[in-house]
Structures are given as structure tokens and as C-alpha cells.
Symmetry: D3
Subunit: 117 residues, 6 copies
């Protein structure tokens, strides 16, 4: 795993968002480095949006695209950041009207799974 400054910055965001270090073996090795450096290190650390805003925007995108595995991961992130369940549910009720009812039905089930634990 990378040790670059960009990797360290990305790992710090991942720690803050998900409460854990990047996990070797959790995905293909090169893609893990790219994810930590390029996505979390370069993008999530940019000023202009608070991490809570990035979390909500990411969930909005994932919800209307129907990416259920990643919705779950980012719901854990949102919960970890202290974003209230009611706020996330409200986002999904809102998005039923922009991505279609089914994406909200699925999204709200995942909220129940992640937040009720």
C-alpha cells in the first residue's frame, strides 16, 4: 500500500468517515491505492464542501443510481459522522421524485438496516 502524502491524506479522510484505516485485501490492490489517493486524498479533502455535505451528496448520487452495496457503505459513513437518520430518510423521500419510487424504497430499507443496529 502507498505511503505517499496523498495516500496519508486519503487515509485520514477514510478514518474520519468510516472510523477505520483503509483495509488491504478489501479490494484489488492497485484500485485500493487509487481509491485512497485519487478519490479520498485528492477529492474528499478539497475545501468548498464539508465532509457531511460530501456524505449527503454521495448518498444522493448512489441512491438514484441504485448502487446498493455502496449505499450501505456510505450509510455507515453518514451514521458515523453523526448525520441523523431522519435527515437521510428525508433525502430518500425527496429523491423518490427525481430517480423514481423504487430507488427510495430500496434506499429506505438500507437505512433501516444500517441505522437500527
Amino acid at each position: 500500500m502507498g505511503n505517499s502524502e496523498r495516500f496519508q491524506k486519503g487515509a485520514a479522510v477514510i478514518k474520519k468517515l468510516f472510523g477505520r484505516e483503509p483495509q488491504p485485501g478489501s479490494m484489488q490492490a492497485d484500485f485500493l491505492d487509487i481509491t485512497v489517493e485519487n478519490l479520498f486524498g485528492d477529492i474528499w479533502t478539497r475545501p468548498g464542501l464539508a465532509i457531511e455535505e460530501r456524505s449527503m451528496i454521495t448518498l444522493s448520487a448512489l441512491t438514484v443510481l441504485g448502487r446498493e452495496n455502496e449505499i450501505k457503505i456510505h450509510l455507515h459513513g453518514a451514521k458515523n459522522l453523526g448525520i441523523p437518520r431522519e435527515k437521510i430518510e428525508e433525502i430518500m423521500i425527496h429523491l423518490a421524485h427525481y430517480g423514481g419510487w423504487p430507488v427510495a424504497v430500496s434506499g429506505l430499507k438500507l437505512v433501516e438496516q444500517v441505522y437500527s443496529k
Copy 2:
């Protein structure tokens, strides 16, 4: 056009968001009523999210879905609400990584069109 309480509530949100009344003739008549009553009257007026948050969430959804006509409309809304251009651009740069590069390329062009006027 409807005169129900729900319609009046919806029309008030539309006024606040887009700076104008619902426009008869702008879309099929029944669908205009449903849009004002059900979408803006029932949903956009719910507590739990500020109108600026609903604007950003809506733009996030539209951007990754590539709905260009509606992106333009809601960029006018975001500008009208006073959301800074830099914040919207940051959302789109972020979303390049969740919806694919092309949705950000298109979204940022529309920001230029709407905000530079």
C-alpha cells in the same frame, strides 16, 4: 389550475426557488397541477431539510442521471437561492467519481451557462 391549499403551498416554494409563479402552459395541464401539489406542495415543504439542501440534493441526482434540461432549471434555482457557484462546481467535481466523468463535464458546462449570465 388548482386552488387547493396544497397547490398554494407548492406555488410558494416554486416562487422562493425559481422566483416566479407556476406557469400555465409550461407543461401538460394535469401534470403541472401534480407537480405543484404533490412534488412542491407535499415534498419540498416537508421539514427536515432546508430548501438549499433540497436544491443541492436535487442537483446531485439530476447530474449523475444526466438530465440536462432539468439540471439547467435547478441551476437557476440554486443561483436564485444564493448558493455560490463554487459550491455547485465542487459538487460536480465530486460526482465525477460516483456517476462517471461525463456527467461532471456536462454539469460544469451548464454551470458556466447559467451562472456566468
Copy 3:
């Protein structure tokens, strides 16, 4: 749960389509009300399309969007309305050409699951 006239109208469509009352606890409480009132009460009760036509159109949309959980729910609805399996299969064979082969492959598997019981 709501007791409004719109809720009652929606509940009646749901009974006709799925053979059961709206189920409290089946989804987030506010979203259940909105689903019964706005989606089933306001939209599914509109004249201009028979309920069987709405069922087939809904299945067409869900199929090409790949929304598998909702496809299953609406296949139960179609079966309950007496729409023959052969007709639903024909829709999916047709849609392979508009939404891509994979959506029909998945859709036809779900038909087998729901209709063969």
C-alpha cells in the same frame, strides 16, 4: 397512517392490485403515507388507463431500469390482476431490444419465480 380521502382511494387500488391493505411497518411511516396518497391515491386512480395497462407499463419501466425488488412486487400485482404469464414474458422479450439483453434475462427469471408458484 393517514385517513384522508386520498389515502382511502390509494388503499383501495393497493387492495385491488396486490390483494392486501397497505402494511404499516413495511416501509418508513411517512413514505408509506406518501406512497398510498400520492402514488396510488392520486396517480393510479386517474382515468385514461386501465389498471392492467398501468401494471404493464410499470413493469416495462421497472424492467429496463433493472429494479429487481420492485419487479417482483409488480409481478405479484400482474398475476393477481389475471394478466397471463405469456403476456408478461412477451413484454420482457420485447424489452430486451430496448433496454438490453440483461434486463430481459433477469426479468424472465423473476417471472418464473413469481408465476410458477
Copy 4:
């Protein structure tokens, strides 16, 4: 252009649906043959769905997928088959709730363009 029996069958459906023969030069030559033979000759001629049902199902799929060029083509087909404007509009109002509001907004604009001529 093909002269096979499958081509002839496909050409007959195209004539019935769009009121014209397949047009050489309207698309890449091989793809035109495949479209006439495989899509219209093999699929649109299958029993089990009336041509009006295939038209409505096709429009439902194209609408939620946001394929605007093809929506226009198939709106001409629907009009040519005598499907009333009100019925197509009702389909799109319905689909706003399954594919998201923007697909209905765009779809209804195209109905206005095609049916008001």
C-alpha cells in the same frame, strides 16, 4: 438491403407502424438490415401483444431511459397507429413516479411537439 422473408415481415411492420418503408441511408447499412430483420421481423411480429401494446411498452421503456431521439420516432408511430394523445400523456404522468420527474417533463414536451402538428 435484405430481401429475405424476415426482412419482408419486418418491412411490413415498419410500414404499419411508421407509415413508410425502411429507408436506406437512414442508418448504417448492416444495422438497418438487422433492425428490419431481427427487431421488426422477428420480434414485433410475434403474437401475444398487439402492435398498439408494443408501441406503448416501447414508449414506456424509452421514456424512463431518457432516449429522446427514439421517443420522438415512436411517438410518430403511436400517433400513426391512432393511439390518442391523452393515453400517451397518461403513460408519461404515470412514469414520472417510476423513472423520476425529469423523464416525464421531457416526454410530455415531445408529445406536444409530435401530436400538435
Copy 5:
């Protein structure tokens, strides 16, 4: 099942790609015939692209569309053709940037499942 020349051509491609004959009962009977004749017999046998190229292009499409069941099937095909795991992984890392990060995360997990056996 069909015995036409087109069926035989399609069955030969399926054998080469997946290492087995078309399997009656694996999908709805008519759709199996159409899949063997129209998709594999007519399209996959066309000159202009090697079967390995068709395999990689198909996987690219399925990956960005998020069609997980079909990705698995075509990963078995790719493996059977001898396309190296590293090449498929590289395709998915690349596509993270065109279809969004989640499609690559899911795709790479499926590569691990299929290629590590």
C-alpha cells in the same frame, strides 16, 4: 429448441465462449432460441471483431450498467477464452472513471469470485 443454421452458428459461438451447449430450461424457451439465433448466431459471428474483443466490449458495457448477473456469466466467458485476469481488472479500474466508482468496486469483486476459483 431451434435447428436452423442460425441456431447452429449461435450454438457454436456459445460453446467457444462458455464451454457448453445452450441449455434448454436455463431461460424461457422462445427467448433462448432468440438469444442463440439473433444474438449469438447473427451478431457474435459477424467479422470485424475477434471474439476476445467482443468479450471485453460486452464486459465493459455490463460493468458500467451494473448488470451483476450477466457480468458473472461473461467473466466466465472471458476466463474460458484465456483473457488474463489482469486485463479484465484493468478494464474495470479504467471504467471506474466513466461509469462511477461503484461499478468498478462491484466489478472487481466479481472478478475475484470468478477468477480465483
Copy 6:
């Protein structure tokens, strides 16, 4: 504009693919840097796929996603790399069956626009 090593590597790929330098003003300034460094510098330069393979894979993804503006840009790239028109057309005919007919119809029109000049 950036002057980093990653930027230089990305600019070299862009030159090879599109026949020109990255163009300041062609997109939002930060996003141009990220595009050159992260997408072209880090990803397109990775070993494991030839640039012609990356071009075809990118076109496959863009085609099934219906991203027309970017399809045009990457068709110029494909033409510039010397990939024959027939090969690109074959990809789109193939993809009609995985992303639905409309994406191939649109894609083939864009091929005509870009390659016939």
C-alpha cells in the same frame, strides 16, 4: 494549470489521443487539472491495456450510458489513433444488444458525423 510530473504524463496521453494539448478554458480550471493528472496521467498511462484498447472500452461505456457529447470527443480520439470506422461501427452494432437499440442508433449517427468529415 498544473506542472507536476503527473500532469505532464497526462498531457502526453491527451496529445497522443486527441492530437492536441489540454486546453485551458475548455473546462472548469480545477477539474481540468484533475482530468489531466488523475484520469489521463494516472489511469490512461497504466500498463495492461494499449491506448487503442482503452479507446474502445471507453467508447463502449459511453455508448451504453448514452453520453453523446463524450462519445463525440472519444470518436475523434479513436479516429486519430487510426482505429477503423468499421471496427467502431461493429462495436455499436454489438452493443445494441447489451444497452438497447437506441444507444446504437445514436452512436452510429455520431460515427457518421465524426468519421465522414
